[in-house]
């Protein structure tokens, strides 16, 4: 089976200097994520989950070690190249949705496409298609204020898919959503993962994410505690979930 590695982290260390104290956010992380995988990074607050996540997403650079995103060493990239990476290769989804409030759903989704240089016809057509795919075809002109939390997150997912990225990074995507809406979002992300073969990496507290993940990476105190495969998880999920919501 031809393995394509989407993300490779080699001996990654991240230290923050706060005054006289050095905080070791990440202590020697080694991680390989394959193309098309659905990975969840789980861990308590302060475990370095967010820091790790930022590294993978090209939002931060390691103090030591190397990170390769699609075989590109991100520490070598300058501001322009990072911007290009974020525009074309990586899609981001956030806990607080982060839609631009002055723009409609369609405009939010097509903004990355505008950055990528598509013409108005091209990006309008593509934007409408994506919004219809995620079930918001009748709300394309609504502003974020006029949408529910779940709908906003779906627009955010559509936006993340705008330029057909190879990776989607989702930081606590269900954090601000109720159980049922969270479930819908997770199902949507999984179906997109299967359909478009896009690698999805989420950082989350949400245990509902467990049954859709191919692998789960548990982080504690800045180190990878363990990595669990889907098969290992099946047994546990049965006892956690109990009843279907």
């Amino acid at each position: 089976m031809a393995e394509e590695n989407m993300v490779r982290m080699i001996n990654v260390v991240k230290e923050y200097i706060m005054g006289t104290v050095t905080v070791n956010a990440l202590k020697k992380i080694n991680l390989v994520i394959e193309k098309g995988e659905y990975i969840s990074i789980m861990g308590p607050s302060g475990s370095g989950k967010s820091t790790l996540f930022n590294m993978i997403g090209g939002l931060d650079k390691p103090s030591q070690g190397k990170i390769y995103i699609d075989e590109v060493d991100i520490a070598q990239l300058d501001a322009y190249e990072l911007a290009w990476l974020r525009c074309r290769k990586i899609g981001y989804i956030f806990q607080s949705f982060n839609l631009i409030p002055v723009m409609s759903a369609l405009e939010n989704v097509t903004l990355p496409m505008i950055f990528a240089g598509l013409t108005q016809d091209e990006y309008t057509k593509k934007g409408v298609e994506i919004l219809e795919r995620i079930g918001l075809g009748d709300r394309i002109m609504h502003k974020p204020l006029e949408l529910s939390g779940g709908q906003q997150q779906r627009v955010a997912i559509a936006r993340a898919l705008a330029n057909d990225p190879v990776i989607i990074l989702a930081d606590e995507p269900t954090g601000n959503l109720d159980l049922r809406t969270g479930r819908e979002i997770i199902d949507l992300m999984k179906s997109l993962n299967k359909e478009k073969k896009v690698t999805i990496i989420t950082a989350t507290h949400d245990l509902k994410m467990l049954d859709v993940s191919d692998r789960v990476v548990w982080i504690r105190d800045g180190m990878v505690e363990r990595i669990e495969e889907r098969a290992d998880l099946d047994l546990k999920v049965g006892t956690i979930e109990g009843k279907e919501i």
């Binding site: 967010s50 930022n54 939002l59 931060d60 070598q76 300058d78 501001a79 322009y80 190249e81 911007a83 290009w84 990476l85 974020r86 525009c87 074309r88 981001y92 956030f94 607080s96 982060n98 839609l99 631009i100 409030p101 002055v102 723009m103 903004l111 990355p112 505008i114 950055f115 990528a116 240089g117 936006r159 930081d171």
Partner: protein, 222 residues
Amino acid sequence: MASNENNAARINRQIHLPFRRAIVISMRSIKNRMVRSFITVGGIFLAITFLMAILTSSAITDKIQKKQLDQIQTENIVAQTEADKAENATQIWLIVISLIVCGVGITNAMLMSVTERFREIGTMKCLGALNRFIVELFILESAFQGLIGAAAGMSTGIILTVMSFIWKYGWSKVIVSIPVLNLIGQGAMAIVIGTLLAIVAAVYPARIATKMMPADALTREV
């Protein structure tokens, strides 16, 4: 890395923010924060009204002096308007100071705007926005507010001054003494000054906006 500049130039061409789009976004941002925009626009309006009033006053005064009206009446008017001129000189100083104060107020208001919108800025950077897009958006926003305030200030300044002259010297004398060409020139200058002031005042806040790291901007709890 060899040809770093070429690389930057290449990517510069590959990430776009069409100017029309930037204008739409800036104008919507102004609408979104109407009250604060009114304060910014209001500041420029007042300063430019003041400026235009002084300029108009000098212009009309000069023209009245040049016009050959009834000899006796002209002497009276000349004496009066000389006094006005001296007053004007002090007022120019006041204007400069008021413009500076206005500019500082705009910088403050824009800084507030930038701080409030850290998530928006961080998000746009995550979508691939280059720093110059962020700068462009904030400068455009400020420029629009400057333009509107200056245009309104210019009109108000002219109208108020003309009316005050008519009140002082009577309709018939003033109506033939309005130096239309001069006023158009000065009016254009006032608009340019107001707009430029707004743009310059926004430079520092725009730079602060570009310094925001996408990561900090997004994961910070508000």
